[in-house]
Symmetry: C2
Subunit: 337 residues, 2 copies
Amino acid sequence: MNDVEKAILMKKDRMNEINPFFKEVYQDFKEMEKLFPRILQTEIPLLYQSATYLLKSGGKRIRPGLMLLSASSNRYDREHLLPFALALEIVHMASLVHDDVVDAAPLRRGKPTVKKKWNNRISVYTGNFLLARAMRLMGSYDDHRINQTLSHVSLEMCKGELSQIDSVFTLDDRMANYLSRIKRKTALLLSMSCEIGAYLGKADEHTVRNLKVYGDYLGMAFQISDDVLDYLPANGKFGKTPGGDIRQGLATLPLIYALHHAKEAEEIRAIFPKQQKTDAEVERILEIVRNCGGIEFSLGIGRSYIKKAKERLEDLVNPNLKIALGEIADFVMERDF
Amino acid sequence: MNDVEKAILMKKDRMNEINPFFKEVYQDFKEMEKLFPRILQTEIPLLYQSATYLLKSGGKRIRPGLMLLSASSNRYDREHLLPFALALEIVHMASLVHDDVVDAAPLRRGKPTVKKKWNNRISVYTGNFLLARAMRLMGSYDDHRINQTLSHVSLEMCKGELSQIDSVFTLDDRMANYLSRIKRKTALLLSMSCEIGAYLGKADEHTVRNLKVYGDYLGMAFQISDDVLDYLPANGKFGKTPGGDIRQGLATLPLIYALHHAKEAEEIRAIFPKQQKTDAEVERILEIVRNCGGIEFSLGIGRSYIKKAKERLEDLVNPNLKIALGEIADFVMERDF
């Protein structure tokens, strides 16, 4: 079985599978879930509805999970950790809500997205509300390092989005730019989850640093695996329709590889910048990327990040933590499909 | 000359007139303007362009102005004050940028607004970038009170927006709801500007509290005067087309008064909830509101806020500050038209 076949086979396991890794902190997860509605309480019914909407749709809680695990490297005090864990998930939710904001531009396959009246405005202010709640939760520590880290991650996430918007449809084929975008988009928040988790758990600076770097590499692999998913054939109810990034003009790693290595690269260059693509055109790009080995290459890069992430766990003294974080790392590239 | 005539006559003085009140802190304004581009510096050209766009269009800098004046009540150290002054203006800019986010809903007089590709998304992330920059500037004080105040104001501003969205076209005629919306939308940030200015200037708690309340009342009057403006006849190049709030389904003070006191209130109730209104319909509502005294009533409420604001200045010991803040208060209702 080659990489691609294995990836397709495992794609159906994708959903709701990461939770078992967090079994060490299961009680905290339960406490955290109970606290969300209270934290997001507001006397404006519409705002409460929009702010808690994402809670109902589940989510793997990977950021609080990593944070709580990282904190368990040393001292562990749940009361002290939960506000930050909540804040991490809320920052993530805010980014999803802001991601809902779309333009009336003809970028959604030529059809207007079905959106309620005012939905964009509601998304903006719901996202802001979530960010402000997270800010308050993090502010409750009254700790300069924590406050600085949040504004740093927020800034970088915005830069990542804007540079992505800037590069859309332009077919930027520079791998360094891609890596810098996904670092900002995904890796930094995971890195911060591990870093501050360890820090709040009073780990020594060496451990804090190692877990921070672990989170960074894990996040890189996480996003790469997500981007690869868009190039795999659809697979039953767990699969998403492939080619979404191509339609939206987003050049990710498999495509960037194909631009440099596929003999049909010129064909991609001709089709990709079109704002409206036919299904056949999208299918053609998918085919070129798959045939030239773009998926295997990307999985390889992802695996090398995982390898580097796991190296950072070597010095950990807590054996349970070492095993749990190592399993999460393996899962991202080997089973997250 | 009655109130309305006076208001119309003074409307043309509206722009760029508030700066003279800040002459006490003129040097700081100059320093501050120089710092903006450096603070908003980023290696993403599109982001730098969008983030600094508002700087070029001027602005009265009322929030940093109030803050710097309030700081001058006591000790004054420019280096210590400027980060917060910058942050206040940047928070305000973020709210303007996020306000640019619109829906494809048919709310703009039946015409699609002329917007660049991706403009909504750019607005969201530019606003977030500005907020994160402000957060970092405020975080640089490493002061719990300052951090808590920012997240509090952010939260309340979001609540204000969502409750406004919630009430749009529903013709909510409760004055208490209107006052609570404008408090969140406008008054809180002005109040915070004065409060933290005094606090950073090491004023005693009594003065901090008085200036905070002064800023609150000033902000209420400020927003009321802005809302009244929408009911005054257009007036040359300084006037904005009246009736914008009516078209957007926003019930402000003059309209709320008319709903309770105009004999043609039922006519308003019939027209107002329509998402598309003809020019004649908008004109009819304007006429009813003007004829029943809705403008005079609103100006009266605004003036009573100004009176209460000025009472809070009585205990100030610095005579220059007392005069400057008193003049600003007078200007808001008497000359801001």
